[in-house]
Subunit: 315 residues, 2 copies
């Protein structure tokens, strides 16, 4: 039986299960057993994301997790995320934007498996040679939001942060910022690693060093050109490694938000789709940049998006 | 005896040696035996830069290389570069800008060694808390240039590219762009590694993919925000990994030059201090950005700078 981290939960049931909803990312697996109202009957999560499942077998992972939550045989299963990538279980080809969100479920890829009706939602692509882009997983979060009337701008942070423009339930365009990955590779592999305390906790939105670095980046026409200053400040005794991670995070998120503000002059409101500490970091910088922030929990949005797509497929 | 790569050369001598001039970088060691006119009597180079010499001993490395080129005992030796860093042989503390170049030799650190009169030139720092910066080695190249009358802007590429403003032989300000290191860490450690052919040769200034990416970056108000497009273009079949390295290089150098152009609106000429393939890459992008380029060979500038400082110390 697969290990569980954090522990699965099985609630006392009132309604029969309607479907299994799976968020299958690169490094994480999450399964919800949902009733016909979208309520959570049971939940399981673990570290067997695409990378691990590609070695141990996708079907075996799913079978084990379904048994763990007591899913009845043949329950319809809807999956989103990297399980639908080319290197995943079954490829669910990208749907090109502009794309309506409610129709995405019709483009789900069917998996040939003894487990029954198992489908994987497609990602979205921007098939624009001047600005090519892809997403996989965020489209399901978008489907789980209350559709904004008119035009909306969404910020969906993570390893790769997606900036998405929607209008009346249609995704018009999006762009990916590699901010989270830049923080990781610069902090671990570049000369800036010497500017960061090796055992520091993750940046905190209330840290004055984070806020000051973000404010500088928002005001700097070339914030990423100031990266080396993090190292130089420590060589010259102006700053300590203890504040390095907060400064690097503030600089990078500030640079990203400053560019987004310039790119979207018509938007003064941003829907921030995020969970955990990163939500606080982006919230602080978006507000510092003058945006009004509408916060949405990313995990809840994924679950609601999977439920909406499942109701569309199995009315 | 230390290995030599490429082989040392010992020329037939006419004049007696005047001094030994050493460029001691992080990963490379170079020694020239110079006559009183600055002519090269002999030369040695090898991989025992600061990193290796810190383990095997700086004095042993220098002693071996001096013997190899047949330097007479007690010959004065002048060193520039990372041997003067805190983790080097003897620290030669940074001199703060604005700083006159000809006086730098007077701030050289003396090394207590049986080899005789051995000194290490200091680096420069910008002790500005809003834009702290440091250099070590480039100040010697600046000393080796014909001093420009009036104001000059210099671009000195490498792992860390220095943009330097001088006026009548004084360094006013400088700023470091981490472009070379960004190319390295993104290409090896980020998701962009999948966009680069693993065995590709280094980028070439004549490569259309390099030039196109640089042109796009020069025209893009947020070129570093377009990094993920390199990956997406390959997922969508718009481009091949074979051109990935050229595109990443063009994007990063283009972003750097675009920012420099905005930061220095009063300069239409740039002195480009560089050797090897990187000289061609920066030359192409600087010209594409509308700059007039004055090329200077970086290695020759280092040698001339060491000679100028040696003549100042030992007239």
């Amino acid at each position: 039986m697969p290990e569980t981290n954090p522990p699965s939960s099985v609630q006392p049931r009132s309604d029969p299960p309607f479907c299994g909803a799976v968020d299958w990312g690169t490094t994480r697996f999450r399964l919800w057993l949902l009733d016909r109202g979208g309520g959570v009957l049971a939940e399981a999560r673990g570290p067997e994301g695409m990378t691990r499942a590609a070695e141990t077998g996708f079907e075996a992972v799913l079978r084990g997790r379904l048994a763990e939550v007591g899913a009845p045989a043949g329950l319809p299963i809807l999956i989103c995320g990297m399980a639908g990538a080319r290197q995943g279980w079954v490829e669910a080809p990208y749907v090109a934007v502009p794309a309506g969100l409610t129709g995405l479920a019709d483009r789900a890829a069917r998996v040939d498996t003894a487990l029954g009706d198992v489908r994987i939602l497609p990602g979205l692509c921007r098939a624009d040679r001047a600005a090519p882009d892809v997403m996989r997983g965020e489209e399901t979060q978008l489907l789980g939001l209350d559709p904004a009337a008119g035009a909306a701008l969404l910020c969906m942070p993570g390893t790769h942060c997606k900036w998405v423009e929607t209008e009346d339930g249609t995704v018009l365009r999006f762009r990916t910022a590699m901010t989270g990955e830049l923080f990781d590779v610069l902090g671990r592999h570049s000369v800036l690693r010497h500017a960061l305390a090796p055992d520091a906790a993750g940046p905190d939105a209330d840290d004055p060093a984070f806020r000051a670095a973000a404010a500088r980046a928002l005001a700097d026409p070339d914030p990423l050109g100031a990266l080396f200053a993090l190292r130089a400040a420590r060589l010259l005794g102006f700053a300590e490694p203890a504040t390095g991670a907060a400064e690097l995070s503030g600089l990078l998120i500030g640079a990203e938000v400053a560019a987004a503000r310039r790119r979207h002059p018509g938007h003064d409101r941003v829907t921030l789709v995020a969970s955990g500490p990163i939500a606080g970091l982006y919230d602080a910088v978006l507000r510092a940049a003058g945006f009004t922030v509408i916060p949405v929990d990313a995990e809840a949005a994924t679950r609601r998006g999977l439920f909406a797509a499942a109701r569309h497929l199995w009315p």
